[in-house]
């Protein structure tokens, strides 16, 4: 399994570098003078979008990053060039299905409220209930935090969040690797 992970990350690295270079060229062609903060934001944004588009819409978090970036009109040029026209269709589709998911979750939540009332009537007959309740609450809190961290996590349930987090961690590592090497290269040259 380690070999497949290494192989996949190498492929991802190549794709990411390609797209990031593209994105940086687009960025520097637009404005002339930018202060430090703007430059950093542009660099980070192009890196994020490059990473997400290198995934080719296979994962939920990548779609979430791209759709979030598309909302800002300034980034439209960057996003369009990097991700290509194919992903636009995917993003619209994803938005629709996300919206459906949200509404059906709301319906479920209302029914959950009703179910909880019925459950409270039942007596708790399992032993060591307190410990499990505490454990469940801890896990729930942490999954909420994880949902906030992973892009697009608010729309997913716990199980998919874990799966997405797996993939997200791998891709973040790739991103950090490439950026570190670039920084080292520039510092060595200068």
């Amino acid at each position: 399994m380690q070999e497949t992970i290494m192989h996949n990350s190498r492929e991802l690295k190549k794709e990411f570098i390609k797209k990031w270079v593209q994105g940086l060229h687009i960025c520097c062609s637009s404005k002339k003078q930018m202060n430090l903060l703007e430059r950093k934001n542009k660099i980070k944004l192009s890196a994020d979008i490059a990473l997400a588009s290198a995934k080719n819409s296979t994962t939920c978090w990548s779609k979430a990053i791209i759709s979030k970036a598309e909302k800002d009109e300034q980034n439209m040029i960057l996003v369009n060039n990097l991700s290509g026209s194919g992903s636009k269709f995917m993003c619209a589709h994803q938005k629709v299905s996300c919206h459906k998911r949200i509404t059906s979750k709301k319906i479920l939540k209302k029914s959950y409220g009703f179910r909880k009332k019925m459950k409270k009537m039942e007596p708790c007959d399992h032993g060591s209930n307190l410990a499990t309740c505490i454990a469940k609450r801890l896990v729930k809190k942490r999954t909420q935090v994880l949902k906030r961290l992973v892009p697009g996590g608010e729309f997913m349930d716990e199980f998919s969040v874990i799966k997405e987090a797996l993939d997200y961690i791998l891709s973040l590592r790739v991103q950090v690797d490439v950026m570190k090497n670039l920084v080292n290269a520039t510092t060595i040259l200068n």
């Binding site: 190549k14 002339k32 430059r39 199980f159 987090a165 961690i169 973040l172 590592r173 290269a185």
Partner: protein, 240 residues
């Protein structure tokens, strides 16, 4: 003729195989209900939860058996129900069956995550592992921020020199992934040999010369001679 929700398999669970079992759960109710049709490959939790409720009423009488042995094979046929066998001495309540199946899924994924995140192997308990994962993700995100700030500081304009990029690129392509980056590497030079990338033979030739292996350069094995750099960049440009 029964499928099993992999009650007993632990490490043999692949993430790809588990949705197959749950596709069967969704198969029948999607046709009968007027719920919106999502593609069966999406692990849509809402639909699966509500279908599970209906499945339970049908399944409780027919499938809740207490047995010591649990079958692990999955059928390729289309089955209307998912039969979950209860282990001996465990509750056959319909709620807890589904709960247990769900918990097994989550535990399998958590194990994968544990292998991935460094330092998670010794920790037991879902909450602690989740803690570690959250810390890891946060640290990675902060690293990205910090590195992009450094890049912005180094380059007065975003226009990063092409040759610079390609040399860094070749270094990063050769670079071993995450944990190996800690130590400077005479080792990694040898590791590059089995790599199948095209600029590789040139690297091999250069490696013979010990002058180029200094601590600062070892991370990239960046060659200071102008000829070799232009050669590499040309090759990489051809590749891309």
């Amino acid at each position: 003729m029964e499928t099993d929700n992999s009650l007993e398999t632990t490490s043999s669970i692949l993430p790809n195989s588990s949705p197959n079992n749950f596709n069967l759960v969704k198969e029948e109710p999607i046709d009968s209900d007027s719920l919106h049709n999502s593609s069966p490959n999406l692990s849509d939790p809402i639909i699966s939860k509500s279908t599970k409720r209906k499945e339970r009423e049908k399944n409780v009488k027919s499938s809740a058996k207490k047995s010591k042995n649990v079958a692990n094979e999955t059928d390729g046929e289309e089955l209307p129900y998912v039969h979950v066998r209860a282990r001996r001495g465990q509750a056959t309540d319909s709620h807890s069956l589904a709960e247990r199946a769900r918990r097994e899924k989550i535990n399998a994924r958590m194990k994968l995550l544990q292998e991935l995140v460094p330092g998670c192997n010794k920790i037991s308990g879902t909450a602690m592992v989740l803690d570690e994962i959250i810390n890891h993700v946060q640290s990675l995100q902060h690293q990205v921020e910090f590195l992009s700030m450094r890049l912005a500081a180094v380059h007065p304009n975003i226009d990063i020199n092409l040759d610079n990029i390609f040399s860094a690129e070749s270094g990063s392509l050769m670079e071993c992934s995450f944990p190996a980056m800690v130590s400077p590497q005479p080792l990694s030079h040898q590791l590059w040999q089995p790599d199948g990338l095209t600029p590789q033979p040139l690297w091999g030739v250069e490696e013979m010369n010990p002058n180029f292996i200094t601590p600062e350069n070892s991370l990239l094995s960046y060659d200071s001679s102008g000829n070799s750099v232009s050669l590499y960049t040309n090759q990489l440009k051809m590749e891309l």
